[in-house]
Amino acid sequence: MLTDGSRRLVMDIHVNGEIRNVIVRAADTLLHILREQLGLTGAKPGCENGDCGACTVLVNGWPIKSCIMLAVEAVGHEITTIEGLKDTPIQKAFLKKWAFQCGYCTPGFIMNCYALAKIHPDADDTMIQEWLGSNICRCTGYEEINEAIKSVLASNPHLGAKLL
């Protein structure tokens, strides 16, 4: 028990293939712990209300807004942040299609796109819009991001012909 009456939990979380030890208040969000304790600042606070998607990370491969998940809930799950992606097709596609400007929403968009391409490699326009509609980009016209995800989906050897 601390002087302010609050409690801290010491726990291990799995992040980007590593086991990391963190000290957590019950009310701390996963976003907060990733940034403040692990220095993984790729996930961004944009609204801390689940509205903008800038904080999106993967939990067991699924995109989750880390601002509305408690850090204590992360125990026993595999967390992947933008720092855990290296030279992936979606990152290359974002570069090639100029799918960002200020870059602030980019990690969240990339994580969401990455998961979409893994989970639904045959996603059509409607599904792309359903998934990526949970993120906001204020700089681009969205067309560049749309082109980036479509180029990754289309490059899937089994599905390329169908999508093109």
Partner: protein
């Protein structure tokens, strides 16, 4: 030797890899142990006297180190007019205004304490619109308006709610109306909205034992922060050091200085320790400055053949509780008040009005998308009355060399560009002549609308920029300048200008993204589409300076005159015999002879630029020269409208803009596309919803809607390139231009589709339905 032709190429952003890997660092990404956290208590009334502030419960929260109220530091800030205390003193003037500030070890402690501060208010009558504000009986929001200090050109009117009035008086209105055979009047309005950059505003401050103030800020104006912190806290400007790393979007909203003052005061209150303040999204929406609102009345007169003769224009900008940049926005709107049309007789009063709304600051376009909405609605009304094609009416009156601007600046092909050419290109791209309203069955129609725009900048008359090119041992160059990377890609384009001028490989030009006011030359502000223009000129001068130094040293080694030498592809060589030369690498740090003797020294190119021949506007007539050049263009929107339920889809949006010269085509496309998306989002759905007491109802991204992926249209973008002699390689400002004509074009397309004049924003199906029904009683 042929040059490398890097101008216009799609050179990837210099910071691109950082941005797709999570390595890119923004102000709030610098995590430091020991840093103290700042949280604000904000007002729960839009207009009220502060009776008392009880901090006793807040002090009991563990970890609280300081609580600061406005009375402790009673001073006023603001440019052009000093009217705003950083923390409210005697009264609050908008809902969400900072009233007290808590500093604590942890953010949650600061937040808890801020919530426990009890403020007793005495509510005052709320001024909830510009039309209420200009009534003689309106409550005064600033009782001491006449006594406020004016820092820049501004004309407040004592004992009113008018923070600024800019007058345009050109030609002879009596004659103008006599010659006018067809006259229309348009009344338009829209409420305040927001920039909603994805990165909320954030600042850190610390005061070192020797008195140096270190500020980190997500800002478009680090050099202005340096000046105002110096001015208000009496610190030598050289001892105020401002850092701005990558900024996560700004759109004008990060031009103003607000959190930096609060952070400084908070740091001062804890003995100079480093503190950080980060806006929540809710604070970023309303506590920090917003996008301006407007009520406007435009009366246009023309001949039967559609030649514009006279314009009488009133712009009433909703500047909110404090004038900030809104006062200058009202001036900028006056300077370009007619839109890009040749009108001999012009009368305009453009006012910045105080209301009990959040205060407004620059928004991409700086008053121009706002005035363009008013003018272009009037132009469509006129075309309708004349029974003339709206594009033809615009073509007939398109501004051109030989005309004069509303502020009586003579126009030439260099400063005005070629609007007619833009219109002709757009006609083809939008398939305009197929008809503007086409029934497609199923209760649906397709309709097209256009909007022409122009924009000059309204900077201080002495705005400028500097650049330094430092050579590295391998002959590569590090470029230093004060431009902030807010997503627009200016620093990459500047590297292209260096590469082109030095005839070097673009990969040999290194650019640092962070701005540090201690080491970078000053750049006025990253605003007004003036960065590539001004910093580009500074960079050109720096490159020339470096070339001269290289030729000087090489001429000694090569035993010839400097003027006989040229620089390119990493070498300095004889123009007459290019195989005789020396590599830059051998002389970049001076040249060393075989016996050890050395000459020269590190090559450091320097350049600076200042805008020239600009003047203040005459307070009675508006005559004067507010900026160096105009960018002109035309935009169009095509909608598919359901005549039964008033919903619509935006199918296409097009822009043809006279860019002067495009430096990086992909970056330019991105800027214009993004601007169009911002404009469509603003015009179709964005607005603050005010209660009758001035309380804002939608302060979250789930209640304040923003366009999302899939709602965007197909974009069509093209450029005309009429060189501006003053701009580097002929370029004109581009960053803001994608937004400006879009709200007007959308309104024009939907007015045509729904067959009712839509003069308000945002253009929701509900608004269209209400307007169609003629039930406007409960609209703004």
């Amino acid at each position: 030797m042929s040059h490398l032709d890097i101008i216009g190429e799609n050179v990837p952003r210099k910071e691109a890899l950082e941005k797709v890997t999570g390595a890119a660092k923004y102000t709030n990404d610098d995590i430091r142990p020991g840093l103290l956290h700042v949280k604000m208590t904000t007002s729960t009334y839009a207009h009220a006297n502060i009776v008392s502030i009880d901090t006793s419960k807040a002090w009991k929260v563990p970890g609280v180190r300081a609580i600061v109220t406005g009375k402790q530091f009673p001073f006023l800030t603001g440019t052009p007019l000093e009217d705003r205390p950083p923390i409210a003193i005697d009264k609050v003037r908008y809902y969400g205004e900072p009233v007290a500030v808590v500093v604590a070890d942890y953010e949650f402690q600061a937040k808890k304490a801020a919530e426990l501060i009890k403020v007793a208010y005495e509510p005052l009558p709320v001024v909830n619109s510009v039309s209420e504000a200009i009534k003689r009986t309106a409550p005064l929001i600033h009782e001491n308006l006449g006594r406020y200090k004016r820092v820049e050109e501004v004309y407040p009117e004592d004992n009113t709610n008018i923070a600024n009035r800019t007058k345009i008086r050109k030609g002879d209105m009596q004659k103008g109306w006599m010659k006018s055979e067809v006259i229309v009047t348009a009344n338009v309005s829209f409420p305040q909205s927001d920039h909603a950059a994805m990165e909320t505003r954030c600042a850190r401050a610390e005061i070192l034992p020797d008195g140096r103030a270190i500020i980190h800020s997500a800002s478009q104006s680090p050099f202005v922060i340096k000046k105002v912190i110096s001015r208000y806290f009496q610190i030598h400007p050289g001892k105020v050091i401002v850092h701005t790393p990558l900024v996560g979007g700004a759109f004008g909203g990060k031009v103003s200085i607000q959190l930096e003052f609060i952070a400084f005061l908070a740091s001062y209150a804890v003995g100079g320790r480093m503190v950080k303040i980060v806006n929540t999204r809710e604070e970023d929406f309303i506590t920090s400055p917003v996008h301006i609102g407007l009520d406007a009345r435009v009366k246009l007169g023309c001949t039967k053949s559609g030649e514009l003769i006279a314009a009488e224009i009133i712009y009433l900008f909703d500047g909110g509780a404090y004038s900030d940049r809104a006062a200058i926005i009202s001036r900028a709107a006056a300077a370009d008040c007619t839109g890009p049309y040749n009108i001999e007789n012009v009368w305009c009063d453009s006012l910045c009005i105080y209301t009990n709304h959040p205060y407004a600051t620059a928004f991409r376009g700086f008053g121009h998308s706002e005035l363009t909405f008013a003018i272009e609605r009037a132009m469509d009304l006129l075309a309708n009355k004349l029974n003339m094609d709206p594009l033809e009416l615009r073509l007939k009156n398109a501004i051109a060399p030989g005309n004069t601007s509303p502020t009586q600046v003579p126009l030439n092909v260099s400063n005005i560009g070629d609007l007619s050419k833009c219109l002709e290109k757009l006609r083809g791209l939008m398939n305009w002549n197929e008809g503007q309203r086409i029934k497609i069955g199923n209760n649906k129609v397709k309709a097209k609308g256009i909007g022409c725009f122009w924009k000059n900048s309204n900077t201080p008359t002495n705005a400028g920029s500097g650049a330094v090119l430092t050579f590295n041992p391998d002959g590569s160059i590090s470029l230093s300048c004060g431009v902030v990377e807010i997503g627009q890609g200016t620093k990459t384009a500047l590297a292209q200008i260096v590469a082109e001028t030095m005839k070097m490989d673009i990969n040999q030009i290194h650019v640092r993204m962070e701005v540090n006011t201690e080491t970078n030359p000053e750049h006025w502000k990253t605003a007004a589409s003036r960065s590539l223009f001004m910093a580009g000129r500074a960079v050109l001068a720096a490159a020339e300076d470096a070339i001269n130094q290289l030729r000087e040293v090489a001429s000694i080694v090569l035993r010839c005159a400097p003027e006989e030498l040229a620089v390119g592809r990493g070498r300095v060589f004889l123009k007459s015999e290019p195989n005789i030369g020396i590599s830059i690498q051998e002389i970049a740090y001076g040249y060393t002879y075989p016996n050890g003797n050395s000459i020269g020294g590190q090559v450091i190119g320097r350049g600076s630029y200042i805008l020239k021949h600009l003047t203040k506007l005459n307070p009675e007539t508006g005559a004067g020269n507010p900026g160096p050049e105009w960018t002109v263009g035309v935009q169009a929107v095509e909608v598919e409208f359901d005549i039964k339920n008033y919903t619509y889809r935006i199918i296409k949006a097009a822009s043809v803009i006279d860019a002067g010269k495009v430096i990086n085509m992909k970056a330019a496309y991105g800027q214009i596309m993004g601007g169009m998306c911002l404009g469509l989002s603003f015009a179709s759905r964005e607005a603050f919803s005010f209660s009758s007491t001035g309380v804002i109802q939608n302060t979250q991204l789930r209640t304040y809607k923003i366009m999302r992926l899939g709602e965007n249209p197909k974009y069509i973008i093209d450029f005309v390139e009429t060189p501006n002699i003053e701009g580097p390689y002929g370029l004109r400002g581009l960053g803001e231009m994608g937004v400006i004509g879009i709200p007007a074009a959308l309104a024009n397309s939907l007015s045509l589709a729904s067959e009712v004049e839509l003069n308000q924003l945002p253009l929701t199906p509900e608004l269209i339905w209400k307007t169609k029904k003629g039930d406007q009683s409960d609209l703004v």
